[in-house]
Structures are given as structure tokens and as C-alpha cells.
């Protein structure tokens, strides 16, 4: 097990290194360079201004040397300086990580709170009105784009209840009421898709498990149906659900970018969007690396959870 964890951590680090190289190369393989694109937005820069800016940012040095310097900083937690604000990228990210983490975790919790009971009910009461309603909910959750859902929700809430999302983020442990009033609705919107996908998977996986011989045995022993489902079926049925949650987590994080933008939330997603619009490449590199690190960590957690859910799975 320990060897497996070590191998998975090493694999995650390798992926992160590859992401860092890919995103670093991306902004440098094009004709011109980041500084030119950056300064082009202001008044026409003179060649001297461009040269000075390139020297300051080290863009006049060979590519691999630039990458080595940047990576040496990254491993020390220094992601360079923003091209627009000149502030350290790490500092900019740290200011916003808390909000995005809250939003992602809350979306996930909400999604699972919705998906699991509906998925279980849909499976247990297969082909009833409840099952069809659950499946309809899932297909709608998959089809309604988050940006549309967010736009319509924020407008309706402002028209009907004069509600606007509060400005200024407060962590849940400091001011739970304010935190919830700020993040609950965005989290619900982000979580809608994950809820739909998890509900479908819970339903189909539980149906599969309920047909297994050991479930028949559990019933034959005289266990109550609830005990059969909760104690014997659910845990095994969760393995594919956990897999799909891991896969969909990437989509959920992508949803934070859009929802933070619509709800004017100062998270990493809106930072990335600002950076993209301003073509602030050092900030883009840092934000992309942050998202990749979260996804790699999530995949690791998903892999490790398999052995807890099914003790027959042992990693060597």
C-alpha cells in the first residue's frame, strides 16, 4: 500500500511537472512574446521599452534557462510576478484560494447530498414515477449550462427578493451566515452537473449490485431491505460513483471560473479570467498550475479511497 501511495504521488508530481512545462511553453512558442502582447495593449511601445521589459522579465534569455529559473522559483513557492500588477503571483493566488476551495468543497457536498439519496431511491424504486423524476432531474442537470443557470438565477433573485451576492469573502469558520449567503447559491449551480452525473451513476451501480448473489443471500438471511441496501449494497456500489466524482471534479473546478465571474466572487477562477483578458501570462501559468495541482490531489484521493470502500482491493 505504501509503495502504491509513493508511486501515485510520484506520478502526480510528474504530471504537474509536465503541466508546468506545457503551460510555460505555450506562452513562448508563438511569434512575438508575452511582453509585446502585453505592451501592445497600451500606447505603442518603443523598441527600447520592449527590450528593457524583456530583460526585466528574463525573456531575452534562452527558453530552457527561463524555464529552469521559473521552476527553481516554483519549487520554493515563488511563481514569479504578475505582468500587470507586478505583485507576486503566489500572493495573488493565496488571497483567492480560500474562496475557490470553499466553493469547490461546498459544491461537492451539495451535489452529493442531492445525488446520493435520489440515486438510491431511483434504483430501489426502479421504473416508478420517482425513478423517472430522478432521471429527468439528472438529464436536465446535465443539459442546463452553468453560465445560463447562474445568469437567470441571479436575475430572478434580484427581481423577486432584491438579493445580491454580498461583496467581501468571509471563511465559513469566521462568519458562517455570511459565508453561506455568499456561496450557497453559486455552489448549488456549480454542483448541479456533478449531482446529475453522480445520481445516474449511483442508480446504475446500485442496480447492478442489487442483482449480485451476496445480496440475495443477505435477503435470504432475513435482513430487512433497508439493512441490505445500507450495509451490504451501498458501499460496493460507491466505487464507480467515486470514480465518476473524480473525473467530474475537473468540470466542477472549471465551473468555478464561470460562476465566480457571474457572481463577482474574487476566487482563483476570476483571477484566471482577468489574467486571460489582460494577457498576464505569469498569472495564467500560476492559476493553471494551481488547478492542475488540485486535480492531481483529487485523483490521488479517489485512488486511495478504493481500498477503503472495498477491502478486497489491495495495492502493492
Amino acid at each position: 500500500m505504501r509503495t502504491y501511495i509513493a508511486r501515485r504521488v510520484l506520478h502526480g508530481l510528474l504530471v504537474l511537472w509536465l503541466v508546468s512545462f506545457a503551460i510555460f511553453s505555450l506562452v513562448r512558442i508563438l511569434p512575438g512574446d508575452a511582453v509585446l502582447m502585453q505592451l501592445d495593449q497600451a500606447a505603442a511601445p518603443t523598441p527600447e521599452m520592449l527590450e528593457r521589459a524583456r530583460q526585466e522579465l528574463g525573456l531575452d534569455r534562452p527558453f530552457l534557462e527561463q524555464y529552469r529559473t521559473w521552476m527553481a522559483g516554483v519549487v520554493r513557492g515563488d511563481l514569479g510576478h504578475s505582468l500587470t500588477s507586478r505583485r507576486p503571483v503566489t500572493q495573488e493566488l493565496l488571497k483567492r484560494v480560500s474562496l475557490t476551495s470553499h466553493l469547490a468543497v461546498m459544491s461537492m457536498i451539495i451535489a452529493l447530498l442531492i445525488a446520493l439519496p435520489i440515486g438510491v431511491l431511483a434504483a430501489v424504486r426502479q421504473d416508478t414515477a420517482g425513478d423517472y423524476a430522478g432521471r429527468l432531474f439528472a438529464i436536465l442537470g446535465l443539459s442546463l449550462p452553468d453560465f445560463w443557470l447562474a445568469t437567470v438565477t441571479i436575475t430572478l433573485l434580484s427581481i423577486w427578493f432584491q438579493w445580491m451576492p454580498p461583496i467581501g469573502f468571509a471563511p465559513i469558520w469566521e462568519d458562517p451566515a455570511r459565508n453561506l449567503s455568499q456561496l450557497l447559491i453559486p455552489a448549488l449551480i456549480i454542483g448541479a452537473r456533478l449531482a446529475a452525473v453522480s445520481m445516474r451513476m449511483t442508480r446504475s451501480s446500485l442496480l447492478e449490485v442489487l442483482r449480485q448473489d451476496y445480496i440475495v443471500t443477505a435477503r435470504a438471511k432475513g435482513n430487512r431491505e433497508r439493512a441490505v441496501i445500507v450495509r451490504h449494497a451501498l458501499k460496493n456500489a460507491f466505487i464507480p460513483v467515486v470514480t465518476i466524482i473524480g473525473q467530474q471534479f475537473s468540470v466542477l473546478l472549471g465551473g468555478t471560473v464561470i460562476v465566480e465571474f457571474i457572481f463577482l466572487q474574487p476566487g482563483v477562477g476570476s483571477l484566471l479570467l482577468d489574467a486571460v483578458l489582460l494577457r498576464d501570462y505569469t498569472l495564467i501559468q500560476g492559476a493553471v498550475l494551481f488547478f492542475a495541482a488540485v486535480i492531481v490531489a483529487m485523483n490521488l484521493l479517489v485512488d486511495l479511497s478504493y481500498s477503503w470502500l472495498d477491502p478486497r482491493i489491495r495495492y502493492r
Binding site: L26, L30, S143, P145, S158, G254, V276, I284, V288
Partner: protein
Amino acid sequence: MVLVRRKPLGAASAAIIGGLVAVALLAPVLAPRDPYAFNLNERGLPIRMQAPNATFLLGTDPLGRDVLSRIVYGARVSLIVGFGSVLIGTLLGTGLGLVSGFWEGRLDQVIQRAVDTVMAIPGIVLALAVMSVLGQSLTNIILVIGLVIAPGTSRVVRGTVLAIKQQTFVDAVLASGASPARIVLRHVLPNVFAPILVIATVWLGNAIVIEAALSFLGLGTPPPTPTWGGMLSGEGRRNLETAPYLAIFPGLAISVVVLAFNMLGDALRDLLDPRSRIEAGL
């Protein structure tokens, strides 16, 4: 016919998609007005923000343009991006998956690490980062979404190829002296078509949403080209309280199309993969 008999909802979805394709192809005939034209009243002023009425069935936007005509023309962008990006992503993903799954070894390792790298970045984040570098254009959007689609497709194809390789008919063809390339193209590829078709159908809907999201965020097809996401974002979002129809109709168009692609994907999966139908309890 099989689809109509066994999966009526899937058939209805296919009909909706067929209708959408027809609308996109016949846009110049079907659109009641020029989608770019500022409709003027008798005093020569733009007919701005008209609620849906008999003359303008879905109303007009703040510049006096006909919303219905813009939605009809917007279908073109959505479908071009959807089919273009899915074609690129599927071809790339299938090629990589076939090579990776059939030959395995070091090449497989290299391809899989590249796939891991792209899959470690959320699709919309990757699309935003690449668009910021490439710049806004329809071609770039298609390329970027194709890049987002390819890794997932390659994983599905690789998994299927690995399973097919275990079957005896592959050993038999190998023993008959066929070259690996011939085996892949003549014997493995046809067996991979079913999962590719299913995943491509679902991705068509997702690609349309990503394009709309990019347009919504201001990084999609540049104005004045009518796109559903762009209509939702600019005039739609700014005027939601006074003219909600500006956002509701393009949003509905996106949702209906994505719903249709999702349901068609489900129906195709059930028809082409009986095991998944049993698993899903359908």
C-alpha cells in the same frame, strides 16, 4: 428505424438535431430578417428592445437586431464548432488511443503522460489559456475544443483496444501474417466505432456548451457574428431585468440542443452496448 422502435426518446432527440442542422443550413431562407441589420422604425431610429410580438417573434436586441434571426444564424456557429471540434478531437483521440493501446510499450507511456497532462487541466481553463495565446477566431475555438476532447476519447479507445487485443481473432489474424497496421485498421478500428460514436455524440453537446461559455466570457467568436453564448453574455446579461427574453431564448436553444445530444448519446450507448443497458437497469 431501430432507434424509433426501441428508443423513442433517442429518436426524438435525433429529430431535434436533424431540425437544428436543417435550420443552420437553411438560415438565409428561414431567418425572417438579416441578423446583422439594425431594424429601423418610420422615423429612422432603431427598434430597440422590443418584447416578442407579431413582427419580431422573439423580440429585438438593444441595437434593434431581430433576436429570432440571430438565434437561427447562431445555430450555424454552434454546429460548425460542435462538428468541427468533435471531428478533430475524435480523429486525434482515436489515432492516439489506437497507437497507445495496440503497440503499448514506451510509446504508450509517452502518449499516456501527455494525455494525463492535458486531463489535469479543467477543459474551460485549458480553453481560456490557449485562447489567450492564439487569439479569438472561429478556427481557434474549434482547435481548442478539439484539444479538450482528444484525451478523453483516446482513453476510451485505448481501453477498448486493450480489451480487443485479448480476443482470439486478433491472434488468428496475426498468425495469418497480417501487418500490425492492417490489423489495427481492418480489424481493431471497426470494433472501436461503437464507443467512439457514443462519446462523440455526447461531446457534440459539450462542445457547443464550451463554445457558448467562451463567447459568454468574451473569448469566443468575435462580434458581430451571432452566437448563442455571445447573445446571452452581452445584451442578454446586461438587460436581464428589463428584457429577460434576450437571455432566455438563446439559453433555451443551448439547453435543448445539449439535452438532445445527451439523450441521443444515451440511446446510442444502450443500443450499441447491451451490457451498459443491463448495468443501467434500462
